[in-house]
Symmetry: C2
Subunit: 105 residues, 2 copies
């Protein structure tokens, strides 16, 4: 395929905060790999556009926050929603989350 | 999120051929979970549209065929390409592949 990577190979972790790697950015979608150490978080936020977001939990476990809901998530979970709905992530263990936004922001 | 599933929970395998579960279908993207037993395959094919395809190898290992190229793939690999380019999959072990096509076919 035009692009190929392994999430374990490109995952990077920092002591002070989660990391973000942009893995793809085209007119069709933007994709990012978020890596968290235990306790790190993606603060709750939203984007005022009509795009959909896919969160693929590639490793670890944590909580996905959507509005007032706290949803426990674990490796293999796929979550799909609207980027206009406030959402965030809190890692319980080391976590790798592949996020795809389509159409891109 | 609006939708949540775990690939391990919805994975189904059949003795005679690979299985396909449609996990999402919206104006933005179509998503399918392909499950293979060892030796099963998705025959090489293409679609004459301008969409992009993401193959996320959620479990197992095998070969992704793109035109004349045979690309070994394993758990954690993400492959991104054009659906107009002939592509297929051959499973070496039991395999779960989450495929996202955007925009949908």
């Amino acid at each position: 395929m035009a692009e190929k990577f392994n999430v374990d190979d490109i995952a990077t972790f920092k002591d002070d905060k989660m990391t973000v790697n942009i893995t793809h950015d085209s007119p069709n979608f933007r994709q990012l790999l978020f890596c968290f150490k235990p306790g790190q978080e993606l603060p709750v936020h939203s984007h005022d556009v009509d795009s959909e977001i896919i969160m693929a939990i590639m490793d670890g476990e944590g909580i996905v926050i959507e509005e007032e809901n706290e949803v426990p998530v674990r490796k293999g979970d796929i979550l799909i929603g609207q980027v206009s709905v406030p959402h965030g992530i809190v890692a319980k263990t080391e976590m790798k989350v592949l996020v795809t936004i389509t159409p891109p922001l």
